[in-house]
Amino acid sequence: MDPGRFTRVDSATWRIETTGSMRVPAIIYADESLIADMDDKVGEQAVNVATLPGIVQASYVMPDAHWGYGFPIGGVAAFDADRGGVVSGGGVGFDISCGVRTMLTGLTASDIVLVQKSLAESLFHQIPAGLGSEGAIALDASEMDAMLAGGAQWAVERGWGAAHDLERIEEAGRMAGARPDFVSDHAKERQRREMGTLGSGNHYLEVQAVAEILDTTVAGVFGLARDDAVVTIHCGSRGLGHQIGTEFLKEMLATAKGAGIALADRELACAPIHSEVGQRYLGAMRAGVNCALANREILGHYARRVFTHFFPNSDLRLLFDVSHNTCKVESHLVDGKRRDLFVHRKGATRAFGPGHESLPAALRSVGQPVLVGGSMGTGSYVLVGEATSEARAFSSACHGAGRAMSRHAALRQWSGRAIVDDLASRGILIRSPSTRGVAEEAPGAYKDVDAVVVAAERAGLARRVARLRPLICIKG
């Protein structure tokens, strides 16, 4: 996009003024170079979101934004139910509650390097990844409903997790208000054998080393020190979330039409929050959130099992588990008044600042860990939510590096085999069932994650704490 089309507020904030049917402005948090690299569709989609009924304050765009479905990926928007506000399946995304968790291992990078190859093979064989892989867990109808109501708490009760993880997961591991009875049989059937599977695309399990500490005090509170080894998992609600998203997208198209909501894009299909369809979606979506929380807890359990085999005394402790495709009811200050808003984050991470009541006591003084996944070659970041993030974007920050190039273009430019060999020569072991999948996820197909997190920091969304470099990457 040409930054010249927007009003420059400061070096990390750009504004699209309210025109036409926009109800609020759109605000983009990024530097000039990141904006220049964004597809024009990002701005168009941010403007389209700004036309939705009941939107509060602005339609926000995070520094890693790219062209999405209805909402840009990296889009944040809050709606007031009592002022005609809507809930939009596209504003949550198909992979409901897709997210990232990082676990501390108590080990160092040199401990990992000693067993790197066999650890990579073992993780690759123990963590079901990609199309055609099957989980070891099959759920019958009553267990499916228990999982959809209980989330990570359910996984812990079944022996696939640790109770001390729960306070380190958003919603304490269980999203309230889930309605398994609002989830279709088709969606449940799609998930029956998918618990504890990683999926494919940009989902991964990585063993990473702390390459750099950027905030010593907060890193100390998070338990991160230079050269520590950590495990990071990126995945979501698998087939169930996608099926819920697909079914409600279709239904909300009709609902929006019936409610007289003019949609700038069919993918913005939505329903008034105070409507039967809106309430039904929220109940189903929350069940999808629980599915993702349970899935990541189970995958964390599998990782623990593998690590115990290699390091019998290892103790994987969850640093935090964030979701970046959600709609949550949160209390935010708007024009000096607290209001309960339905905050949609599509490819954006919640980033509560210091003192937020929902944070566990051990983290409350510094703020929420914000886990930002990079590409498999460049590394990832741990950030911490800033106090200013509430006023800037309803306590939200970026979620990843963000794609800079389509899969199509990546495939023409790179060979998966060459990428695997090149990364191996740099000490990074990639394991994936598909070399073509590796090419599509080539490090060069992503934006510069360093630039993204610097922009998030300059914008007052979240501050850098540690940079992580990959040692092992399991891709679906």
Partner: protein, 149 residues
């Protein structure tokens, strides 16, 4: 559906293509009829997953309905994606019949073989983004949308 189709160029009669999207993949199928275009697009969906040949060993029957041809196209691709997911299969041959708002389709394929098919991605759902089903100037029908992978 009635069609008065002048002969389309041979090379485009049953073709398909992938087109770029920021994070996912665009599919476009062509044919002499909407049904043929839908079949070609489903083939493009399979090729997005694997370069390997998919043997037509077993068949699956699907039906779907939608108020217009574009929404029917999304329903069709989502039906194929659903069968891929719950049966753990890939499909290599497709037959589609469209009557008004209703589609009947048969998919032929085989169980996923992770080593032989080496699936590059897992389609999650067809979307309304870049969705277009239309008869082009040369009389050929095309059906396209972005699939989330």
């Amino acid at each position: 559906m009635a069609l008065n189709c002048s002969a389309p160029p041979v090379e485009r009669r049953g073709g398909w293509e992938h087109f770029p999207h920021g994070a996912d993949v665009g599919l476009r199928g062509w044919g002499a009829t909407p049904a043929e275009a839908f079949e070609a697009a489903a083939h493009a969906l399979t090729v997005a997953v694997t370069d390997a040949r998919v043997e037509p060993r077993d068949s699956v029957h699907v039906t779907c309905e939608a108020p217009d041809l574009e929404l029917l196209f999304v329903e069709w691709l989502n039906a194929v994606i659903y069968e891929m997911a719950v049966r753990n299969m890939l499909f290599g041959r497709f037959a589609v019949r469209i009557e008004g708002a209703r589609l009947e389709g048969t998919l032929w394929g085989e169980p996923v073989d992770v080593v032989r098919h080496a699936p590059a991605c897992e389609p999650k759902g067809a979307t309304y983004t870049e969705l277009k089903v239309a008869r082009e100037a040369d009389g050929v029908w095309s059906a396209a949308c972005i699939v989330d992978v």
